[in-house]
Each structure stands twice: as structure tokens, then as C-alpha cells.
Amino acid sequence: MATSRKKQAQARARKKKVRTPGLWSLSDRIGVFLAWAAGLSLCVIAAVITLFMAWKGLSYLNLDVVTQSPEASLEQDKTGGFLDPIIGTVILTVMGAAIATPIGIGTAVWLTEYGRPAPLARFVEAGVEIIVGAPSIVLAIFGLLVFQQGFMAPFSFTAAGGEVFGRSFFAAGAVMSLIALPFVVGGTREALNSIPKHVREASYALGKDKASTIRRVLMPSARSGIATGATLGMARIAGDTAVVVVLLGASLQLAPEGGLPVIDVLKGTGSTLTSYVFQNSPAGEGNAPEKAYAAAFVLLMIVVGLNLAVNWIAKRGQHKWV
């Protein structure tokens, strides 16, 4: 008993010794404290946002609002739900990712595995960087310019005067794919770069050429990196407002154009959760704040879900070479 207490005392003394005062200078300690405080307040802010949105959102969320189409009305009770915006978000997200993924993979493979001609590769890299940095409203305006050209007529509707409208799911989806593209390129490149050189060489050593090595060895190895990039891109698309406002128009409901199934929807205008929240928030005109809160909560859940998926994919898909 006595000896154990002695030991404890010794242990305590040793601990004390480690925490010698003066080991850290005052400015260091203030710095650490500030960093610590900043991290903590970020956590608090994130928690407050989530809890507030959950409280507001859940109190207005019900089956009706997610299954009914929106209606124009000055009275909040008669504004319906936001089924169409949910569909709009899903369409744009899937479309953007579907366009961005193959292009992004191709770009990343070319940059990482070939990289020639070198000046062109550097140019493309710079291009991707610029897209990352560009505010989406800039991309949106540019997209509008492109899709209002005469030859883009098949992708939106043409007004009586022959003017191409330039706003549709096609137009918005194409520009959204630009927003997702850097994520796919980045995810794929990172995955390819993490594959050791000797794995490629092992394939060459079996008498395989570069094309089969890329197809059969590198692509399976990079799969989770690609999925991670595409999912991050989808989260970005789901949360973007500027492109929707400029390029999708602001029709409350899906507004199909032309007679073909599916194509008519894509050719027409619509809305997404982001534009719906914007329109119906106190800042917009719809003046249905309760619906806006509920829609914002659904949007938040979608984005959080996508980010959780990213973590899950990244954890599951890791290939470890010795």
C-alpha cells in the first residue's frame, strides 16, 4: 500500500516535470489558445447551423411538402410542396456528374499517364485551376452566352421571334458539369499518383501495353478516387444557386419543352432546392419561409449525405501496396 502510494507520487512528479513552465513562450501559448478557440468555435457554429436547420426544417417538413408540386400563391398554405425542385436537384446533379466523370477521368489519365505535349498539359492544368477558382455566376453567364447561340437551339426552346432561350436542364447541367469536373480530375489524379510506379511496371513486365495497363490495372485501382471526386462534385452541384438561377430559369414546376419523353423535361426549365429556397425565403418573392426552411433542411441532408458517402468510399476503396 505504502509503496504503491510512493509510486503514484513519483508518477505525479514525473508528469509535473514534463509540464515545465516556460517550455513554451507566452506568444506560443497565446497562439495555441487562439487556434484551439478558433477550432472550437467552428464546431459550435457548425452545430448551431445543423441544429437550427434541423429544428426549423423538421418542424415544417412533412410528407405533403415533398410529394406535392409547388403552386403560386400569396398564402403560404396554398403554395404546395417542393417535389419539382427535389427532382430538379436530382436531375442536375446526376446530369452534371454524368458529363463530368468521363471527361474528368480522360483528362486526369492523359495528364498523369501521358502529360504530352507538355505545354498543352500545363495549359489544361491551368484551365482546370481557373474553373476551380471561377465564381459559378461567371460560369453561368458564360454558359448562357453559349446556349443562346443559334446552333444550341436543340437544347432549349426557341421563342416566336426565333431567339434561342438558352435556359434548360441541358444548359444548366452542362455548366454544372464544369463545376464538378475539377473534383473528378483531382480525385482521379490523386488516385493515379498514389499507385506506385512498380505496379505499372509489373503490368508492362507481363507484356502488356500502356492501354491495357491503364484500362485493366490503373482504372480499377483508381475507382474509389474517381468515385470520391464525382461525389464531391455532386455535392457542389446540389448546392450551387447561381447556375440554376441563370441557366435553369425559375419556373416553379418542371416545364417540359417539345413532345419527346425525358428529353422534353431536359429541354425545359424548372427549379432546384437551392433556387426554391432562395425564392421562398424572406429574401425572395415567394414569401413562404416555412417551406424554404423545410427545403433547406432537405438540401442540407442531401449534401451531408454525399459527403458521408465520400468518406465511406474513401475508407473502403483504399488499396495498400507495401
Binding site: 512498380h198 503490368s203 513486365a205 507481363l206 507484356g207 485493366r216 480499377p220 495498400k320 501496396w321 507495401v322
Partner: protein
């Protein structure tokens, strides 16, 4: 290998001629200085000077390099190396790190050519034919390679082995057709009993030693005539190492093996012949026992003694 008949061996310092049957264990270690003074052994086509009934194995030269030099930019990594590789034997490349062992090995299946800065002079012959006449992919099917790090592909065990057998294009052989070859390769690599029930599981879930044997099986599946090993055990534990060494010794009857190792004990355990390199030069080449026990060149003596204490 039997004991060397030193008296007889010492008076016929010859370089094995190309495409000529030759008896194992008779080549004495020759320093490069001596070799260069000799007339070109290829032109000479001298008769096999020595025959020993106690060593009844016949060795055929499957590969050789002729005055092979490789440089990376200004740096010469391999200098004027002429080295034969015999079928049915294990040839060990030894020498201090950075002396060009890996570079020499990787030149044999032209992996060096993938390095943009690498420049090659001299010839590499496979079965008497200049390898420059072959397509790289064809050469690499005949000369397989195993790497320092086990590197299975991120696919199932079966698919790893089958990968080399599957051709591009529409005519992909079906699993059933590939199965006998896959099984055979795994058996030859000594891995079959451990994986026969888990062929469809990911190869990267295997242990390091198993992964390396899987890589051996993967190489064997394409039926190479030469197998190049670059320090294949340096990432493995002692038990896996000895299993791989056993596999190497078993395989040498069917396939010529060139192994780079910085572990002299390992070279002694597995090698029939040894080539000692120093700063890009081939300093000494000969029968393993002789290089280890009676090295001719001073550098070899220093290196071998230094390592054996």
C-alpha cells in the same frame, strides 16, 4: 553444384560462347580486364574444353548482354557489361547499392527503356537473337520480372494470374479455359494450397510473402523462359524469404533465373553463378562457390569478406 575442379578450371578461362552447349560449373571467375584481352568469344566458337561426369547437367545459354552500357543523362550506371544467362541456373547479381544491379536487370526486359533519360549501348541477345528485333511486349512475355515490393493488382487472386493470359480485344478467353493454367501457375509458385479456396478474394488481402509468391505465379502464367528478380525478399520476413528461396531453387530447372540481391547469404543459398558488380563494372563472374570462396579480383575479395565478416 558440385565441387569445382580448380586445377582444370584454372587453365581455361573462357567466356561461354553463344548458343553453345556448355557444362555447368566449369567456368572460372574471370575479371573484366582478362576478358577484354581475349579475342571475341563469339567469333572464336571454341569447343567446350572441359567435361565432368560428376556434373551431368547441361546448360544452354538463354540470354546474354554484349558490351552493354546504360547511362542516365551523363551518369553511366552500367559500363560495358558482357554477361551470359544460362538456362537451368540461378544467376545472382551482387554488389554494393548503386552499382547498377537493378539497371542491368531491368535492361534485360527493357523496362529501362521506359525511363526517358536512359540511353543504351551494346546488345542484348535472347536465344541468339538481338532483342531489338523483338517487340517489347513479346520480349517481356519471354522475360518475366518480379519486383522488390510485392505488387498484386487490385483484383481477385484468380484475375491477377489470369491478367497476363487475357488478350486485348474481343477474344477474351473464358474463366474455364484459363483455370488450368492459373492453377498450374499457383502450384509452381508454391501458393496453391494456401489460396485454392479463396481464388475470388482480393489479392491485396494476402500477406506480404503470399503476395510476392502470387506475383511469381502471375509471372509464370505467361510462360517466360527467364525470370528476373530484383531483391524479391527485401520487404519480407525471414520465413517468407526462405519459402521464396525454396521456390526459386525449384523453378530453376524450368526457367532461367537472374536474382539481384544485396544479401550474400541469400546469393550463396540460391545461386549457381554469381556476377559481382562495382560502380557499373562487371568485376567478376563465375560459379557461385568459387566467387564466394576463392574470388579473383581484389574488389570481390573485399566485398565478399566484408560481408561475411
Amino acid at each position: 553444384m558440385g565441387v569445382i575442379d580448380e586445377e582444370k578450371a584454372s587453365d581455361n578461362g573462357y567466356v561461354p560462347p553463344l548458343r553453345q552447349i556448355q557444362v555447368g560449373g566449369t567456368t572460372e571467375p574471370i575479371s573484366v580486364a582478362e576478358r577484354i584481352q581475349e579475342p571475341d568469344p563469339l567469333l572464336q566458337q571454341e569447343e567446350v574444353p572441359y567435361f565432368d561426369d560428376t556434373q551431368p547437367e547441361w546448360f544452354e545459354q538463354i540470354m546474354r548482354t554484349e558490351s552493354l552500357s546504360i547511362s542516365f543523362g551523363d551518369k553511366k550506371a552500367v559500363k560495358e557489361v558482357s554477361l551470359p544467362v544460362n538456362a537451368g541456373e540461378v544467376l545472382a547479381l551482387i554488389g554494393p547499392s548503386g552499382c547498377g544491379k537493378t539497371t542491368l536487370l531491368r535492361s534485360l526486359n527493357k523496362l529501362v527503356d521506359l525511363t526517358p533519360t536512359a540511353k543504351r549501348e551494346g546488345r542484348i541477345l535472347l536465344d541468339g537473337t538481338d532483342t531489338d528485333l523483338y517487340d517489347d511486349t513479346y520480349l517481356r512475355r519471354r522475360v518475366g520480372m518480379l519486383f522488390q515490393q510485392p505488387n498484386p493488382f487490385p483484383m481477385s487472386i484468380f484475375d491477377n494470374i489470369a491478367y497476363g493470359l487475357r488478350e486485348r480485344g474481343s477474344k477474351r478467353p473464358r474463366k474455364k479455359e484459363l483455370e488450368p493454367l492459373v492453377v498450374d501457375s499457383l502450384k509452381r509458385a508454391g501458393l496453391w494450397s494456401e489460396v485454392k479456396d479463396i481464388l475470388n478474394q482480393p489479392a491485396l488481402a494476402l500477406s506480404g510473402g503470399q503476395q510476392q509468391r502470387l506475383c511469381i505465379a502471375r509471372s509464370l502464367a505467361v510462360m517466360p523462359e527467364v525470370l528476373l528478380l530484383d531483391e524479391p525478399c527485401s520487404a519480407l520476413d525471414p520465413i517468407s524469404t526462405s519459402i521464396i528461396e525454396e521456390t526459386i531453387v525449384e523453378l530453376k530447372d524450368e526457367i532461367a533465373i537472374v536474382i539481384v540481391t544485396h544479401n550474400l547469404q541469400q546469393a550463396e543459398r540460391v545461386a549457381d553463378r554469381v556476377a559481382f558488380m562495382y560502380l557499373g563494372d562487371l568485376v567478376e563472374y563465375g560459379v557461385a562457390e568459387q566467387v564466394f570462396n576463392a574470388p579473383q579480383a581484389e574488389r570481390t575479395k573485399d566485398y565478399v569478406r566484408g560481408d561475411f565478416g
